[in-house]
């Protein structure tokens, strides 16, 4: 309501009439137009009387005697229970010469246990209408079980069997290898996948496990042996290196004994400390990958940024929402609604256990590849002066706050969110206490973070995957040295691990 009044009346008066006509007194008083019967619709309706605010779930923290931490959140809305077993080592556990190992382990894990073949496992899960997925990540492997609550006991048995007793039979390994190699080949044609791999390489470095192509390389996947899988599993799949997160329709009186029955005998063992190489020194680089037949270019501008535990992390996330998190944010408004060059241009801030990553990402019509980069750069530059408006700040805060009930609506999301909080080092009541911290965040906090962390002159990585013929003028944008990685990225030449690392120079 306030906004509309502003636009229709006050603002026009204060700033001079928007249409530019001088305000002249009428010679004769015109007849007042009959009020439209719909005029009441001009006013945004006020909110209904306040309802209790949303309170994000906070888990109860328990544990099993073997040091396996357990997070519990009861929710009887639907007859579903989600159990996420998180192993705290993922791609970060890949040895330097074996990129793709964690992904391979995850792929082979549910392809047979010591007492169940791949087929038996699939049949038994489906007989329960249970869904089990194994997802490898940079800093962990997650086994995510979603089952109907009256099948929790047998479903837990299957989850535990997959996690604790994988058989890694040679036949199953070869089948997984063949499918993995096919997947790697598919990525070579997929602009989004290619862009992600190049961004990772620039941000984390060609010698860092996180800088390798997702899933490894054709050569490394071919070279992985059964003993590598067994060793990774034996080393990292330990209760003292894991976390159980449970959300849903379970009986609080019996859940711990149910979990203990399946995971209590799992033996702890000291896990070797992580020996990740340092991240590369940053310098501005533009990596291009030619896709001559593509009608669009996938563009990404990225940097490593502060970690989730940094006191400025919330200010950064808020700054990001105003810049590129909402449909109405600056990047999308300019590139989509003003220019019509894209279906969507957004930015994001994500965190892993070591660092944060800021990224602008989208697909633009190929003919305007360089124009789009110019526009993105200009929007970033302007935003990095700290010119966020009060309205933008308000919308960003509202978006973060009011999307919480949806983000934490399902048991799947809640169980996974608890794991993420632990992984990135945030307290378990992070979302429950978020409204207070968000309220305390001032415009200057967000402006300062925009100036220091979102300055495009400090964005080291630009990646463009699209037709090379539409990249004329790219070098003139001063985004950095342009490096063409088409041959390697698209599998036209053999990829050599730890080859020339452009970002490391």
């Amino acid at each position: 309501m306030r906004r509309r009044h502003c636009l229709a009346g006050l603002l026009a008066l204060a700033l001079g009439c928007a249409s530019g006509r001088p305000a002249q007194p009428p010679v004769t008083a015109p007849a007042a137009p009959a009020p439209s019967p719909d005029a009441w619709r001009n006013e945004q309706p006020p909110p209904l009387p306040a309802v209790p605010a949303f309170r994000a779930p906070v888990p109860t923290q328990r544990g099993l005697p073997n040091r396996l931490p357990v997070l519990l959140r009861e929710n009887h809305a639907v007859p579903v229970v989600v159990v996420e077993l998180a192993i705290k080592t993922g791609v970060d556990g890949d040895p330097p010469d074996k990129p793709g190992l964690a992904d391979f382990v995850a792929g082979a894990l549910d392809e047979g246990t010591r007492t169940r073949t791949a087929e038996q496992l699939a049949e038994q899960l489906e007989d329960l209408a249970a869904i089990l997925t194994v997802s490898p990540g940079l800093d962990g492997v997650r086994l995510h079980l979603n089952c109907l609550s009256d099948t929790l006991k047998p479903a837990l048995e299957l989850l535990a069997d997959v996690a604790l007793n994988p058989a890694f039979r040679p036949g199953d390994i070869e089948r997984v290898r063949g499918i993995t190699l096919t997947g790697l080949e598919q990525r070579r044609g997929n602009p989004g996948a290619l862009a992600s791999d190049e961004v990772a390489r620039l941000l984390y470095g060609a010698k860092h496990p996180w800088g390798q192509p997702a899933g490894g390389t054709v050569e490394s996947v071919r070279a992985i042996r059964r003993q590598d899988l067994v060793r990774f599993h034996d080393t990292y799949f330990r209760p003292n290196n894991a976390l159980l997160s449970v959300s849903g329709d379970f009986d609080s009186a019996t859940i711990l004994s149910l979990l203990a029955e399946r995971f209590g005998a799992w033996r702890p063992k000291a896990v070797p400390p992580s020996r990740l190489p340092p991240f590369p020194k940053e310098s501005r680089v533009v990596v291009t990958v030619d896709m001559p037949d593509s009608t669009q270019s996938q563009v990404a501008l990225a940097s490593r940024t502060i970690s989730a535990t940094n006191p400025d992390a919330l200010a950064l996330s808020t700054a990001n929402v105003a810049l590129g998190g909402l449909f109405t944010s600056r990047l999308n408004q300019q590139l989509r609604e003003v220019r019509g060059w894209t279906y969507g241009m957004f930015s994001s801030v994500g965190f892993n256990k070591r660092t944060g990553v800021f990224q602008v990402r989208g697909s633009v019509v190929a003919a305007h590849t360089v124009d789009s980069l110019k526009d993105i750069e200009a929007e970033l530059k302007k935003y990095a002066t700290g010119d966020i408006t009060d309205a933008e700040l308000f919308h960003a805060k509202q978006g973060i706050l009011q999307s919480l009930p949806q983000a934490l609506e399902t048991n799947d999301a809640v169980a996974s969110t608890f794991v993420t909080l632990v992984t990135i080092g945030r307290p378990l009541d992070w979302y429950a206490t978020l409204p207070g911290r968000l309220g305390a965040l001032g415009r200057e906090d967000v402006a300062r973070v925009s100036r220091t962390l979102l300055d495009p002159a400090k964005l080291p990585a630009t990646v463009v995957v699209g037709p090379k013929k539409d990249q004329e003028g790219l070098a003139g944008l001063q985004l950095g040295t342009v490096i063409d990685r088409t041959a390697e990225a698209r599998g036209l030449v053999t990829r050599t691990p730890a080859a020339a690392a452009p970002a490391a120079r």
């Binding site: 906004r3 636009l7 619709r41 309706p45 909110p47 209904l48 309802v51 949303f54 809305a77 639907v78 007859p79 579903v80 699939a122 049949e123 489906e126 007989d127 329960l128 209408a129 979603n146 109907l148 609550s149 009256d150 089948r175 063949g178 499918i179 096919t182 080949e185 598919q186 044609g189 997929n190 602009p191 329709d249 009986d251 009186a253 896709m291 001559p292 037949d293 593509s294 009608t295 669009q296 998190g325 909402l326 449909f327 109405t328 609604e337 019509g340 894209t342 279906y343 633009v364 919308h395 509202q398 978006g399 706050l401 009011q402 999307s403 009930p405 609506e409 399902t410 048991n411 036209l492």
Partner: protein, 455 residues
Amino acid sequence: MRSQAVLLLLSTLLLLGTGRALAATEPTIPIQEFTLPNGLRVFLSEDHRAPQVNVNIWYHVGAANQGPGKSGFAHLFEHMMFSGSQHVPDPDHVLASIGAGLGGAANGSTNFDRTNYFETVPAAQLPVALWIESDRMGFLLPTLDEKKLATQRDVVSNERRQRIENQPYGRAYLELCDTLYPKPHPYFHCVIGSIEEIQAASLEDVKGFFRQFYNPRNATLAIVGDFDPKVAREQVARFFGDLPGGPDPKRPDVPQPMLDRVVEKTVPDPVARIPQLQMVWNGMKPFAPEEPAADVLSVILGGSKTSRLYRRLVLEKQIASGVFAGNASLGLGGYFQIVATARTGHTVAELRREVESVLEDFRKTGPTAAEVERAKRNVVGGLVRSVERIAGKADQVNSYAMWTGDPGYLPKDVARYRAVTVDQVHEAAKSLLPPDRLLVLDVEPTSPGAPGARP
């Protein structure tokens, strides 16, 4: 079906034994329904888990209602519904100001038969959601202009590039639509349409479409979440009550073109790197009597890791990296599709040989009782999970209303799947998947260096 009943009885006993009530295992969506004098049907379903509410409107218009040469228009029109209306010139900023701008809280979607618009908003902001939806239902045209349309023509063209042209196998999907629904069928070019025809859309087209289809009588409104039904009724009447009802809605009635032979096509794809086989048969309308058996058939053939095709092509022969089978029911007649993606080094011809062999066996012997039971349980499990989100419930309610007339159809939906028999699934395989009337697509990677590319 009988063993399912035993299982349920057992689980009830188990629940009693635990000493505290767990959630009900039978999914239902409790609904209060009313119809405004202008014909708008409204469904209210309370869900007080969190202080939020989802407003979801289905208009019974989709690609099915497009004229010849107007491919992609229903979807382009959907974009125009976000460009502002007479009293709400900038709905996106209003939504952002009430916290519905993040995470897909507010959006719309167009499919072959319907278009929906929805937003999840804080419970106290229910009137704002109704204000926006009613204004674009009643007052879209006064503020519409050529500039807004021109921008969205480009945005939608980019949507097509991003979601079809630059996705592996996206081109095969267009070929599927074009073969099963040849010109002048309104499904020609799928929902997204051709860039040429999208770019040719005029302001007059938009106005005519709006007047014909965007009326209370051609829509249903579902509100699910944390609200007082008395207040919700008042608010709905206030915002929608005085909109004119519009003409009598007419469902499009276009005969379904039927394949009369095996049609084989090669689809060059510069984005895909691995050959893919698609086999497609003529299908059915939503909630057709044979739909539950067809859905169960799709699960048994290619819906999971225990499916016939997965076992044969992925596990045993190891010539495929993935398989899929699905039954897509559409208002003007759908399709049944089998997809097999090769493993590196294997060909579409190999895939086709094995798929045909699996189908031949299946037509002869049909499914086992265990297969049917397992598939049914997973379909029902999916229905149980579908009501976990208020946005999912609202969409489900409107879907049931459109196709069955009964927004609270969920328990009946569960029942129709539980009732599927071994014989019905066997019969579905024979009648739905004839070996001599289908479309076979051979997706051929063409990008340089692709292992499946021909020199």
